[in-house]
Amino acid sequence: MDTILFFIFAIIAVVCGLNLVLQKHPISSALSLIGVMGSLAVLYLMLGAEFLAAAQVIVYAGAIMVLFVFVIMLLNAGSEKPGGKSWFAQIAGIPLLLAFIAVMGFVIETFLPALRSVRFGSFAGGTAREIGRVLFTEYLLPFEVTSVLILIAILGAVVLARKEID
């Protein structure tokens, strides 16, 4: 069961990721990215991160991607025009990326021998309660820094996008 679920959602994630890269129209890319995020949420759940899985759907798929889709509609962005990339990227790009994946796969398989196997439900540390315990005691400073980061994002978006209003 675990294996089947993993493969279903891993394949969805990879196919959607590929689709994101291959699609010409930004809106198709955005929808593929939502697919990746949704399947990652399921994978998080299987790794015992249930609150994170919910947050992934709420924040990433539900808010950040809405913003992306919104901007794509706002700008009425059309399909990409084809055009030449540098010869280096054309020739070396894909083999380099495949090499990166192969090297990472080899490194991960070979040099982390003591890895656990994943069983859904064997680790239940990711509840909202548990997150709350650790977040509000050990990660107090990063938590507060986060709110500053959010404030800057508000500032930035308003400062940059507001020109039409004045």
């Binding site: 808010a63 709350g132 509000f136 938590f143 709110s147 959010i150 978006a157 308003v158 209003i165």
Partner: protein, 118 residues
Amino acid sequence: MPSGYLPIFVFAILAALFPVAALLLARLVRPSAPNAAKLSAYECGIEPTSQSRGRYSVRFFLVAMLFVIFDVETVFLFPWAVRYRQLGWFGIAEAGVFLAFLVVGYVWVIRKRVLDWS
């Protein structure tokens, strides 16, 4: 697999199956007689005068952006809410500082009249 997720799993499968089944069933049952008049906007308000894909005002973006920001903030407050008894006054202070920054941002946004639509 923890049993708590079983209903969710069943629900997810049902949710995926339902629209497929409904569409298939409707296709099987309904009669098919295509007619050009059926495609016009009959008694559905005025005829559209411009393309539906026109550009929107940037204010929509700003509202959407504020939604993202406050959405993120809510996600952080949720674990605080389920534990706030254990965290006590210290936790309230923590969340207070967190919210204070956002209130400053919110006040600033309102005073800058970003949300004014007039």
